[in-house]
């Protein structure tokens, strides 16, 4: 496989990362090299092999459905780029 500049632009848009045309050209070449490495995996027969998500194959715990968090809004919003009245501010989404 080989990613075109159009593919790279599409992936960057999906990843919400702005890229310039020069970056697309440079990154595209590197990504194709990386996928060249990754493609080696396709030659292996994995029929009937169970995918492994967790080394111990344990099922995830359920916790009791109770409130455990304390209100730390002020501390958490102290590191936010823009807040007002306890809310995170973003550019207008709906006109």
């Amino acid at each position: 496989m080989s990613l075109t500049h159009q593919d790279v632009a599409r992936i960057a848009r999906l990843a919400r990362i702005a890229v310039t045309d020069e970056e697309i050209a440079a990154t595209g070449a590197q990504l194709n090299n990386i996928f060249g490495l990754i493609e080696k995996m396709q030659a292996v027969n994995t029929d009937g092999i169970e995918p492994m998500a967790h080394p111990q194959d344990v099922s995830l715990r359920l916790r009791d459905d109770v409130v455990t968090e304390t209100d730390r809004r002020e501390a958490f919003q102290a590191v936010a780029p823009q807040v007002a009245a306890g809310l995170f501010l973003v550019p207008k989404v709906i006109e």
Partner: protein
């Protein structure tokens, strides 16, 4: 005192031959003198450190000191630590003062360890050379032209240069073991699930694991005792009885079965590393170990599998950096989508962007089965290789990296070349096994080389036993660079 181990510092503090404030002052002075050349620390805050040290001295005076109370500790800049900048080596988090403590930080704070500073690292722990930091490359204390390894390169360089007696690291694909090897110190990545990931900035959640880095295996055991433990806030933290990782240190190695995977000694291994590993194996034989050849036939597949799984999980984890709740936000943007795209373009460095793009692609519509699912199946094959090998041996020995530390800049323009150097460490993370690096010698050019010890699940105490016994008959771990 600067060359003292944690064990020795603990004894000196208990004997009151030194106070924690004096000790912290000594390391802070050394950091002030040497860090400008090494760049091992991102944040040093003498006021905070000395306040922690004074609190430790007060606890001791009140008779409340534990074994490690008052001992200085360097913290990788990936662990959230309330009141300290937690940048993860990224411009994205350059303005992030953590509002809470990671579980590991809660544990080391409760034990009275004193934060000596926050160490440099590859951005979001992505790298094998510590050249991907927003704060600049870390230099190897043994040779300033060499990389210290990554991603916990600042932690390894700090311990090697005696800017701290021990450090916290994390290991997703070798990030504790490889820098430990390149800097001539000891480090262990525990079994996945032993150390809580809560508050550890996430890279690849099914692989990430925190661990200790220090001069000796004994010190790693002491620090792991403090770090390990169940934590309900990490969904993959394992509920197991508390272990004393020092309990087997003094056991004899007579009859120990040591497995040497033939794939680890094939083409690609440098003569320097082969010589050092052979000599280490010979030393363990003298201690009574028996050598068996084992096979890990899918070793080479660990590179493609890892470089699918880790970027996939990273692309998902790093989607949280949107410039809304914390982290960098671009100054100029026309709408919300533009704000996301510019904030992320400005906040992330090139390697992080590459991995996000790879991860986004392999998880995108129509490609999941061909990449992520395929990689998870290969992951199972790799874990099964180890399962079979451990039917024949107690521990597996091998190299950590194909060569001693390479030069800064040598591989930084070729990601694939850099990825290939992770060949001996990745499979341990994919399988979720514990692995460690122990100083075992030097390359002809004077750069350190580590021996990798891989253990079966939950066999950290056994691995530390092997490493400790090796360190009783060798002194590689006591050698320090001339600075």
């Amino acid at each position: 005192m600067i060359n003292a181990t944690l064990k020795e510092l603990s004894a000196a503090l208990a004997a009151k031959s030194v106070s924690s404030v004096e000790l912290a002052g000594q390391y802070l002075d050394r950091i002030a003198a040497l860090n400008p050349a090494l760049n091992a620390f991102i944040t040093v805050d003498a006021g905070k450190t000395l306040a922690e040290a004074a609190a430790a001295d007060a606890a001791r005076a009140a008779g409340q000191a534990g074994l490690l109370t008052g001992v200085p500790l360097a913290v990788k800049d990936i662990f959230c630590q309330q009141g300290w900048k937690t940048s993860c080596g990224s411009k994205m988090l350059d303005n992030f003062i953590a509002p809470y403590d990671a579980h590991v930080i809660e544990r080391v704070r409760a034990a009275g360890l004193v934060t000596i500073g926050r160490t440099n690292m590859d951005e979001f722990a992505m790298g094998s050379a510590n050249e991907n930091s927003y704060y600049g490359a870390v230099k190897n204390p043994w040779d300033l032209a060499a990389i210290p390894g990554g991603s916990s390169g600042g932690s390894a360089a700090a311990v090697a240069a005696r800017l701290a007696p021990a450090a916290l690291g994390t290991d997703t694909g070798g990030s504790i073991r490889q820098p430990a090897s390149h800097c001539g110190i000891t480090g262990i990545k525990p079994t996945y699930g032993v150390v809580s990931r809560y508050g550890m900035v996430a890279f690849a959640s099914s692989l990430d694991q925190g661990g200790p880095m220090a001069q000796t295996a004994e010190d790693c055991a002491l620090l792991l005792n403090t770090m390990a433990g169940f934590d309900g806030r990490d969904s993959t933290s394992l509920e197991r009885p508390t272990e004393d990782y020092t309990r087997e240190l003094n056991n004899s190695l007579a009859g120990l079965k040591v497995g040497l995977p033939k794939e680890y000694f094939a083409a690609g291994l440098s003569a320097d590393v082969a010589r050092v590993v052979d000599a280490a194996v010979a030393e363990l034989k003298k201690l009574g170990a028996e050598v068996v050849e084992v096979s890990l036939p899918n070793t080479e597949l660990s590179i493609p599998a890892y470089y699918v799984i880790a970027p996939a999980e990273a692309s998902s984890n790093l989607s949280r950096y949107d410039g809304v709740r914390y982290g960098h936000r671009a100054a100029q943007y026309k709408d919300l989508a533009d704000m996301y795209e510019k904030s992320r373009a400005e906040g992330f460095g090139s390697e992080v962007k590459r991995r996000i793009l790879v991860g986004t692609y392999v998880l995108s519509h129509g490609y999941y089965d061909a990449y992520y699912l395929k990689a998870q199946k290969v992951r199972r094959l790799i874990a099964d290789d180890f399962k079979r090998a451990f039917e024949q041996c107690d521990v597996i020995l091998g190299p950590v990296a194909p060569t001693a530390a390479f030069n800064i800049g040598e591989k930084s323009n070729d990601p694939v070349e850099m990825y290939l150097s992770d060949i001996y460490t990745l499979s341990v993370n994919l399988a979720g096994l514990p692995g460690m690096s122990v100083p075992a010698g030097f390359a002809a050019n004077g750069r350190p080389i580590g021996l990798q010890i891989i253990g079966n699940y939950f066999s950290e105490a056994k691995m530390l036993n092997v490493a400790h016994q090796f360190q009783q008959v060798t002194d590689w771990h006591r050698q320090a660079p001339a600075l």
